[in-house]
Amino acid sequence: MSAPTKIPELVIDGFPPRRPRWVEIVTSADHKDLGRVLITGALGFLFIALVELLLMRLQLAIPENTFLTPVAFNRMLSLYGATAIFLFAVPLALGFFYYVAPLQIGARGTALPRLGQLGTWLFIAAATVLYTCFLFTPSEAGVNPLPPLSGIAFLPNNGVDAWAAASGLATLGFVLIAIDLVATLRRLRAPGMAWRRLPVFSWAAAIGSWLLLVIGPVMLAAITMLLIDRNFEGIFFAGDAGGSPLLWQHLSWIFYTGTYMLILIFALGALAEIVPALARKPLFNRGAVIGSLVAIAVLGTLAWMQNMFTAPIGLGWMYFAMIMSLALIVPFGLVFFNLIATLSGGTLRMRAPLLFAAGAVVAISIGLGSEIEHSMVAVGWRLQHTTDSTAATHFALIGGAVFGGFAALHWWFPKMTGRTMGETLARFSFWTMAIGLLVAFVPLFFAGGEEGEVVDAYKFFAGTGVNAYNLIATIGAFVLAAGILMTLLNAILSREGGRPAGHDAWGGDSLEWFALSPPEPHNFDLLPDVRSARPMRDIREAIAHRSARAEQTARESTPVA
């Protein structure tokens, strides 16, 4: 017997050393890295939007205040609108869609990763453009810069151009991410993951992405026309030269109304994941919830002229917008009914995500309830352009993007970081936010509905009956901000210091809980064969079944002494 004289040599040098974390992130086309960039960026801009809101509320704390000059106020208003929509709410929704949906459908990545990468960095570019305008001058044209005010004749500085460039870059980015999501959801679903088995949040991602593919290009067209009008003597929005200022209103409201729906679809989609898992029941009438989300996207966007009841458009069009808006009562009502029916009869775990989910339902229903009044044409003539509409919009969108967004954050934070967010701080944050929201915006319903206080004004006059309402609203805004800051702080602290969560943190039914926390770059080592709409539950049952059988076999084969 002779031993082999030479053993084949196996050399392991180890994996190539990883590049610094920031280089990894900047060059990554992985949907999880990009999703985290979007979510982190969005939460950062939530903070900045809050600062801007508080500055405006300070100005409006007492009548005829001189804390901000009219120009400074209009700049804050313009920045606040762009930040809240383009840099916070939409990127937050897209960030969660982009992070979670590929995991939920059992994909190992996205179909067009470089497109998603480009989209994400266009969002960063948009944010840079919007905020570098502090070097010269921000826009003064308000949340929706209506021509002719946003034209070169009335705002000749470059603020509106910066706004247009930033909004355009962001919108283009959102559309690119949406294209990637649509392709991923169509092509990369795991074996057996039929559309009828797709988790509701992934449905929301698909619906939201399709919606963006429709409304995004409309906004891009409008912004391009605005830039041409301002810089190249265009006449698209010039009323006296063959164009029409109303054209901008139509195009921009199609986008803003669609975006409003997108944010709510995101929030309701997240709630449809959180509520069943924490009630330990399947979603009641899953099919109806998904159908309702589709209806919300279609009807809601078709209702864009609901914002134009005071404009000189035909009464027939106003009735069309009213029919579309009032029809939304059915799908929104069904989603709320089914969420509540899911809770009914369950064994509820009142954890932070469920708390924020409940807050989202309350806030969104108050906001949408008030929107019903705004949709009734004659009432719209009275309530639109007053602080009543400010309050309605903020209830619905803070309910969707902040309460719904925070529910999603608490829910998927364990998946993203492997750690759970602190529960005590979450509870404090929730109750502070809930009180703050009510105190900040309920008075504005009265100021607008009862006294007709107008929107966007840098001051109000004593003797118009709105002093107390505004002071209370300012105090409420600070309370709301304090609550929001607690959750942002909680997220920062929990990233490193949170309780380790494990891979299946909540006992959810969808496949993201089958991946590690945080997931490997390729998401899954092996993919299960999906047999139902609750694949993770099937996996858990199979494992329990097998270990029970193994135990039994072991017992049977053990010789009895």
């Binding site: 009219p70 120009v71 002719p148 005010l149 009335f154 009323g239 006296d240 029409s244 200022p245 109303l246 009630a279 029941k281 399947p282 979603l283 009641f284 009438n285 899953r286 109806a288 005071t310 000189p312 009464l315 009735y319 029919i323 009032l326 009562i329 059915v330 009502g333 069904l334 709320f336 089914n338 509540i340 809770l343 009914s344 009869g345 369950g346 064994t347 509820l348 409940a358 339902v361 229903s365 108050i366 309830g369 008030s370 019903i372 009044e373 009734m376 044409v377 004659a378 009432v379 003539w381 009275r382 309530l383 352009h385 009862e450 006294e451 007709g452 107008v454 929107v455 004004a457 006059f461």
Partner: protein, 232 residues
Amino acid sequence: MAPHSPGTDQIDTLLWIGFVAAAILIVAVVGALLYVLRRYGAERGAEPRQVTGGRRIQLRVGGTLGAFAAAILVLSIIYTDKARETPTTGAAGLQVSHSEPLKITTTGQQWLWRYDYPNEAFSYYKLIVPVDTAVELELVSTDVVHTWDVPDLAPKADAVPGKTHEIVFRADEEGTYTGQAATLSGQAYAAMRTEVEVVSPQEYEAFIESQKEGIQAAQDRVVSLIENGEVP
């Protein structure tokens, strides 16, 4: 605020209908949510029954919501049509030659409202109208979009450059009604207020006369200054 014209009366009624409808839906959602959270929040132990839903209950809830929405829609159309009706001038109002409403061109400009009455009189900031008289405001703008809003008297309406937008109202009671422009129009937007003074037809005609005389006197003064060479 209280409505002081037939149109705003209708708007006010519809506002209350809308308020009640919204309140019903909000209370139903919030109430049901708080109830289930309280009732099942303390449940422990075994896995609950895995109910996945039912077509019947879904159709029933959807149908109820649809009927609710349809009812609001019908009421909205009825009251909106009433609110838009051109009122007729009453017995106490200004008796103009035709049965047409009194037409006043209302021009929005940064940051002031100008009112042009028939007979070439005009005024800034303050609009004077006779009581119990149908008035039609023809809203135009010389620069950006403005919204004319005196909630007690008339629906809000935009003055858009290049377009004419008509609203009608009939003030029921003499008095002063305040309003404020309601679309961001630039730096002094918040100061762009207006006032509607509703007076008797006699006072209205006296006002128009004095306004015309004042305007004429001012023009004469300018002409004489130019003729005397005091102004180039």
